[in-house]
Each structure stands twice: as structure tokens, then as C-alpha cells.
Symmetry: C2
Subunit: 254 residues, 2 copies
């Protein structure tokens, strides 16, 4: 969706290191925004993005117009149903993942990549896209790339540019709360509610941050879990002032 | 869906005449049948179909199992919305076209054909698949092949094998009624209801045939029309005894 940051540049570098031809898509996709969401104010700067992609030696920057991706008469959508899309962001953004899978299917068919790189910051999106590609037998490998964080831990996001100085400082609580959850888990707590209570309690100390959800889910199926036995994803969404941010951390990894 | 007849064989021949490699899919797709429809009793004969495909010098017969096309955890569907799927068969078979587009998208991605041949007997399906391929930018040309009919005009269908002798005779009224509609149109009638009244009236003479729908629609968009000015499709579905048959004819062609 552009307004590139180190997270995006890391995806480009991972591909540049491995692939013969690197294609980057740049498209703020209207169908994955709901009414009242931030489609209109989502940060955009084509010239800056094009320059950054060039610096990363990207071969092709694909920046279609909205009408190119959704011409008049367009009527087809691609949807993943079930836990993968019903919970977490899916519960608060109806139609969001349908918009994501629809545009990603189109992009895949246009570009026909051998590999596609997605950041783990949008962890649910990564799993949904992987499911879609697998179910529809799209001949593409979905490569997951770890979250890139600011020095103070805030996950890189184009939306971070919309935070004022006070909000930017407050937003660091999200990563600290996830690390708190990891620590509680490492110390032996397995009960999901007990872990989540600590996470929510830490975020509640920041008055300008309002949690939308903080959940523990199976790291593969995103099914809800009561106890953390295997790999689990601790994922949250929160409003920092008027800006909605997401972050996550994996528990139970080796 | 197999139980090949001359309509299917014509598709194979059209491809054999033109394409380097001919792949035929053979799969009775459960997701395009609704509750109470004829999935269980749909005619099947793999050995007969394989022999017929071999006679047509097909290179590859792709006959997957249901679990191969819909493995555990499968959760993705492809859907075309709007007039193309809401009317005609779509109005009476909720979910049918979603099942069709989902399985065809999978088949296209597995086989990756340059061209795919569809019969005009399933006219709505043809337009829906073409729309899906265009919207998702699938790199495949959808080729429409005219209806193949029995000598008495009945459109070829695997389901014709389920008609008893009396029903088989009665079923010829469907094509005769479509030809009646064409004649009325050729004689200058443009009012859709007036044309359809003649079509329905002729079918009503056969007591064992019950019309489900008989409609005139724009031949490209399938939007309903009140007057036949450009190309229109006169399409119908009817029960002959317990067997549902469809047929159609194009009006306003050169």
C-alpha cells in the first residue's frame, strides 16, 4: 500500500537477494477499507516510494490506478471464510480480508510471481493470503518476513506517520505489552486469560491508547485458545489517538 | 462433470484442432449442487468417459477426487455478484455459481490453460466464468462453443439420460418453444412479455413439463429487458418429470 518504511524495504531486499526479477506492487486498495476507515487519509507519496524502490534495485514498480484494478463491471471477489478471517481484525473490519484476498489474487495473476513476500506485522493477512493461494492452487510461494521495529520497539507502519509526538511515545506501550505477555508465558503461565490480563493491564496505563482486541490464538489456524501449549500468536489492535495500529508476537517458538 | 455426450466431445475436438496439448477436466463438483439437488444421482461412468476422451485424442484427463479439490481446511471461495449470477439459474440455485467459479478458478490454476472451452448450453455459466477470468486477470481465453442438439432439437445434456421414454419425448417442447420465441421475434414482436407468453404457452401444452423460469435478458450483461432491441438471450429452465433441464437461444444475432 506504499508510503514505504524499513519493513517494506526489507521485503524488497529479501526478494532482491534471491529472485531474478523483483516486482513491487504499490496500490492503496479501496476494497479493504470499510466505511469510516482511513482510506482517504492513508499516507501516499508516489515519488518518494518510486525513489526508494529504485534505491533497492527493484526491477518493476507496479502502481495501478483504482479503475485499472476495479474497472466498470468488475464483479468478482475472493473470500476466505472461517477462523482465519472471522476473528481478530476480521471481527472489527467486516469485508476487509475479502478486499485483501481479491486484490492479491488479481495482483498474483497479473504479475505471476514465483514468490511473494509478506510482513508478519499483518500476521492475520499473511495467513489468509497463504490459505487463499493454497486453496486456489496459485503457483506462488508465500514468504513470511519478520516484523521490523523502530529502536524503541514500535512496529514499523505507514500509519505511524499519523501519530503526533505524544501519541508516538504512547504507542511504544503496544510492543512493551506484547513483551510482557512473552515474559509471563516464559515464566510458566499457560492460561490465556492470565497472560492477556497482564497485556491489557499494561496498555491501560497509557490513557491515549484504547485496545480494540488483544487475543491469543493458535499460530496456524488462528483458532482461539484457552491455554498456550504449542505455537500461539499474541495479537492486538489498538487506537492511539485516532490511529489504529496492530502488532503481534509469537509465543512458544523454539 | 463427465458422462460425456456430443457436446463435450465437440469441446474436445475444438481444442484438438487448435491447441498443442488438450486437457479435459472430469469432476462432479459438489459445491455447485444445493441441498436436495441431484449431486448423488448425477450420472457417472469413469471408464466410459476415459475411453471417449481417448478416442478424441485428449492428452490428459484430469479426474481429481473431491478431497483433492477440497482438502480439509479448504476455506476459499470465488464469487461473481450482480445480474450475472442473481438471475435465471442463480435465482433458483443459491450458491451454485459460487461453486462453479470456485472450482473453475482452481482448475485453471492447476492446469494453466491458454484457452478453455465452454458450451453455450450453460450460457449463464459461460458468462460468469468469462467475467471471473477477466476480473481476476486469469491468463486464459474463454471460448464459447455452440449448443449441440439431438436430431429432434433437445439440447445435449448428461441429465437427459435420466429421462424415461415419455419424458424424453416431452422434453422436445423446450427447444420448440425457444424456436417459437425466435419466430415471434423475427416476425417483429419486440415486447419481451409478449414473446415469453408464447414460449410459456407452448410449454404449458406438455403436462409433464413445468417451467421454472423463461426469461429474456441482455446477451452480455444478463440484465432483464422489456424490449428486445439488441442481442438477447431467451433462456429457460424446466422440470421434465424429476429432471431439471436448461436451454437457451440467442435473439437478434445477425
Amino acid at each position: 500500500m506504499g508510503f514505504f518504511h524499513e519493513g517494506h524495504l526489507t521485503l524488497m531486499r529479501r526478494s532482491r537477494d534471491r529472485d531474478g526479477v523483483v516486482v513491487v506492487s504499490l496500490f492503496v486498495n479501496p476494497t479493504q477499507f470499510g466505511p469510516g476507515e482511513d482510506y482517504e487519509v492513508y499516507p501516499r507519496d508516489f515519488d518518494r516510494d518510486a525513489s526508494m524502490a529504485q534505491t533497492e534495485r527493484v526491477d518493476l514498480l507496479f502502481a495501478p490506478s483504482v479503475v485499472e484494478m476495479y474497472p466498470p463491471g468488475d464483479a468478482t471477489s475472493v473470500e476466505v471464510t472461517g477462523d482465519l478471517t472471522a476473528r481478530l481484525c476480521g471481527a472489527y473490519r467486516p469485508g476487509h480480508f475479502r478486499g485483501v484476498t481479491t486484490v492479491v489474487a488479481k495482483l498474483f495473476n497479473i504479475v505471476q510471481p514465483d514468490r511473494a513476500y509478506f510482513g508478519e506485522k499483518d500476521y492475520q493477512q499473511l495467513l489468509v493470503v497463504r490459505r487463499m493461494a493454497q486453496d486456489l492452487r496459485l503457483p506462488v510461494d508465500i514468504i513470511a518476513v519478520p516484523i521490523v521495529r523502530e529502536p524503541d520497539g514500535l512496529a514499523m507502519s505507514s500509519r505511524n506517520t499519523r501519530l503526533n509526538a505524544q501519541e508516538r511515545q504512547a504507542a511504544t506501550v503496544l510492543h512493551r505489552a506484547l513483551e510482557k505477555g512473552r515474559e509471563v508465558h516464559r515464566n510458566g503461565t499457560r492460561d490465556a486469560d492470565a497472560i492477556l490480563a497482564q497485556v491489557r493491564s499494561m496498555i491501560a496505563e497509557e490513557r491515549s491508547v484504547k485496545v480494540q482486541y488483544a487475543e491469543l490464538s493458535d499460530a496456524e489456524s488462528l483458532a482461539p485458545i484457552e491455554r498456550v501449549e504449542g505455537r500461539a500468536v499474541l495479537a492486538l489492535a489498538a487506537y492511539v489517538g485516532g490511529t489504529r495500529l496492530i502488532d503481534n508476537i509469537i509465543l512458544g517458538d523454539a
